[in-house]
Structures are given as structure tokens and as C-alpha cells.
Point group: C2
Chain length 112, copies 2
């Protein structure tokens, strides 16, 4: 059972988790069915192609990324986004330092 998150998240008060070379992760809000995560990337950092059974919706909060979903690649910047169906391969290359807000359904228990 995942405990339902608190109501308010102030970024300066939240724990930052390492998530690979040049990548860090901060939980924002979650319960059993949904989990919002802010992922920060240094320029050149690579989110390697991977799959998971969770649906993922993502929003580019800052920076610029080459995002791959299945066999398609696209350059995305602040305000853009992408959708990943369950078990579909996806990854990214950070072109300009920034952050992506990933939201999963159901929650990523492996992130707790």
C-alpha cells in the first residue's frame, strides 16, 4: 500500500534522488494510481531507452530534449510533452539542461 502524498510540495524542501549520470529525480505528488516526478537533466545526459508497464505522460518544464518514443524521435522544448503507452520503449537525450515532469499511472512503486 502506497501512502497518499501530502497536499503541498515546495521544491526546496524535497529530497533529491540520483537517477543516473547527470540525472536527478524529485517526487512531487502521488497515490496508488498516479505519481508525478520531476526529473532534472544536465546537458548531454541520456535517459536510456527503457520500458515499463505504467502509462507515462511527460511535460518539458525547461531545457531542450531529443525524445524517442518507439521508433520516432522529436526535439521538444519547454511547454511540449509526450505520451508513452504501457511497455512502449522510450528515452531521451538532453540537448539543453532542463527538467521533465513525468507522471505515471499507476504509481512507480520502485521510486518510493
Amino acid at each position: 500500500m502506497i501512502v497518499q502524498s501530502k497536499s503541498f510540495f515546495v521544491s526546496s524542501e524535497e529530497k533529491i534522488y540520483p537517477a543516473g549520470e547527470g540525472i536527478s529525480r524529485r517526487l512531487v505528488a502521488y497515490d496508488e494510481n498516479i505519481m508525478m516526478v520531476e526529473c532534472s537533466f544536465e546537458k548531454g545526459a541520456i535517459g536510456a531507452l527503457h520500458t515499463h508497464p505504467h502509462v507515462q505522460t511527460s511535460y518539458i518544464a525547461s531545457g531542450k530534449f531529443e525524445v524517442q518514443v518507439e521508433n520516432e524521435k522529436k526535439i521538444l522544448s519547454k511547454g511540449d510533452g509526450f505520451y508513452v503507452a504501457p511497455d512502449v520503449s522510450h528515452g531521451c537525450l538532453c540537448i539543453e539542461k532542463g527538467a521533465i515532469v513525468d507522471v505515471f499511472n499507476p504509481a512507480r512503486r520502485d521510486f518510493l
Copy 2:
């Protein structure tokens, strides 16, 4: 049945919907179970207190907001976030022009 969204969303190519005085809305990515929406606010715009049966996780993409969840208020800025359980009252006042990324579970069929 909600059609599953496409993979990539480029903000300049997406339709902007009016969503109240000084507020506009842009769909980002969605399927039956999850829906990501970017809500842009002019300074002074008010997201009136309301409830819905959907869980909501929200991320402040830019600007500054006074956010109310149930009986608690908090000033939130870029990188902060909040969580709203089903049927819990919430709303916001925009203090500095900006955008909030709201993600709902399940999808908001009323936004399609």
C-alpha cells in the same frame, strides 16, 4: 471511449481552449486513465474553489500562485506542486502570470 493521445505534443501546434477569465487550457497527453493539461493564468486570474471525483497532481511550470487545498493555503512557485484527493475542494489565485500542469486520474472527459 477516449482515444489514446498521440506520442508527441508541440505546444505551438496545439489548440488553446478558454477556461475562464484570464485562464486558458491546452491538452498535453492522455488516455482513459490519465490526462495531462497545461493551464495558463494571467496575473490576478482565479481558479475558483471546486471539486471533482478525479485525483489531481499539479506542477507549477512558471509564475506564482496562492493554492488552496481543502482548508489550507500555500504560496507555490516554479518547481513546486500539489496533490488533490477525489472530491477535495481546491482552487488558486495567480499572483504572477504563469502555468500549472494538472494531471488527472482518470481522464477528464469533460475536457475533450
